[in-house]
Subunit: 239 residues, 2 copies
DNA sequence: CAGTGGTCTAGACCACCGA
DNA sequence: CGGTGGTCTAGACCACTGG
């Protein structure tokens, strides 16, 4: 008996909206229990699957927690979480309608230090690929990219023309991404970084350390330095 | 908590795993079409709802895109997205097993400048609450918090003992969060900030600008400054 | 034990796309 | 038009929680 097809908001959406509203207005506070699926079923006149989907999605959004055998509860909202996207810098720049270019400062195979070999998960201190690039937006340097690549993950890495194809782009095609971790911190640029970014050595920078995993290999570790005056990360969260 | 998977993967999980594997190994490349729900139904011997759930979750994870009437396709994986959590600093510090304390430098009502009134969405330049505090972890300053609060959203804000309850905590209880946006950038601290953070004025810092919305009100705008040497944001992404 | 959520089925109607 | 995904139902069995 598919009732009236809600061409505006689907039934599970109505259930979600109802619960969201009660949470966001504070009627239900963190820790409070949310009505059970069977109660909501009756209340909205929908099937259990529909209620279940609504609650499952709310859990995915971090608004409620669910415990089998126990119930559904308003989550402790003591955190704001949002999605931080890390994208190929070429795409980002082009999307802004600007011109992306790159200068290649280094593209070579090197012998890995013991430290680096460990970071890349290499048993022996074999060769690794090392590239250093400057990315420019409309001719202005916006990123210093210092990257080490595991040859096992992308054997043809050095054949790439990095003025046309970014390392990130090549790696995404060559070594399908399975995992990545990063950290963002503030730092002052080294003399070399400052010179190539064309900033004063006292200017604060954002540094992102990024480590990517492809299958069994640690594919690459990179240090990306952005001039603080020309770059920021932004994000948004909606309940 | 979520580390013990069911002894057998649920049916929808098997479908997801199958598709994920084909994407992560590069057998299916971005833009390729994924078998339709009806094909996967037969292939796995499950109902359409089960296949649908698998595909819907994969879309939520950003691995595939779906177009009604057209089909399901492997997403362009040219972005890494991950969840950046912004949490109450008190919780973070305590969770690390450390002691959180706070120094209150300012807690007062002020007349909003025209600029600030606009930022907070106040029609007139009425009073706003202004607090400045230093958060310390085991006695070491880790965050300078300069915050303006809309009195309409949290009228009792200034009654709070900020050495015991963080502004974030009070606001989350008083003004249920509906929306937040932030940006992270690198900067050098002002003389005042450097002094209270007990760092040199030339040390790079992370600055987060955060704006929170509660219902119809812009509840608060804050500038949070972290010494670069003592703080970083980290995140992780898994395919 | 009764109640909860976790999963699953075998249908169904609809809106949309491309040929 | 046939095929696709979007949604929904009215059942069902199971595992887990709590008293």
């Amino acid at each position: 008996m598919a009732s009236i097809p809600p061409r505006v908001l689907p039934a599970y959406g109505k259930v979600k909206a109802f619960i969201k509203k009660r949470i966001s207005t504070g009627i239900w506070k963190p820790g409070d229990s949310v009505p059970s699926e069977s109660v909501l079923m009756v209340q909205f006149g929908v099937s259990r699957m529909t209620v279940n989907r609504a609650l499952r999605e709310l859990m995915g959004e971090g608004l409620v927690t669910r415990v089998q055998g126990s119930g559904t509860f308003v989550a402790e909202l003591h955190r704001i979480s949002s999605t931080l996207s890390i994208r190929d810098i070429h795409e980002v720049v082009v999307e802004r309608g600007h011109i992306h270019t790159a200068r290649v400062l280094l593209a070579a195979a090197e012998n890995a230090s013991a430290d680096l070999a460990r970071t890349l998960g290499l048993s022996s201190g074999g060769p690794v690929f090392h590239t250093i690039l400057i990315h420019l937006e409309n001719g202005v340097p916006i990123q210093y990219e210092d990257r080490y690549v595991n040859p096992a993950a992308a054997p043809r890495y050095l054949e790439t023309d990095f003025t046309r194809i970014t390392p990130t782009h090549h790696l995404l095609e060559e070594a399908p991404l399975t995992e990545a971790s990063y950290s963002i911190e503030a730092c002052l640029p080294s003399a070399l970084e400052a010179k190539h970014l064309e900033i004063k050595s006292g200017e604060a920078c954002l540094a992102m350390m990024r480590r990517t995993v492809s299958g069994a290999n640690i594919a690459s570790v990179a240090r990306l330095v952005y001039p603080g005056s020309r770059y920021s990360f932004a994000g948004k969260f909606q309940a």
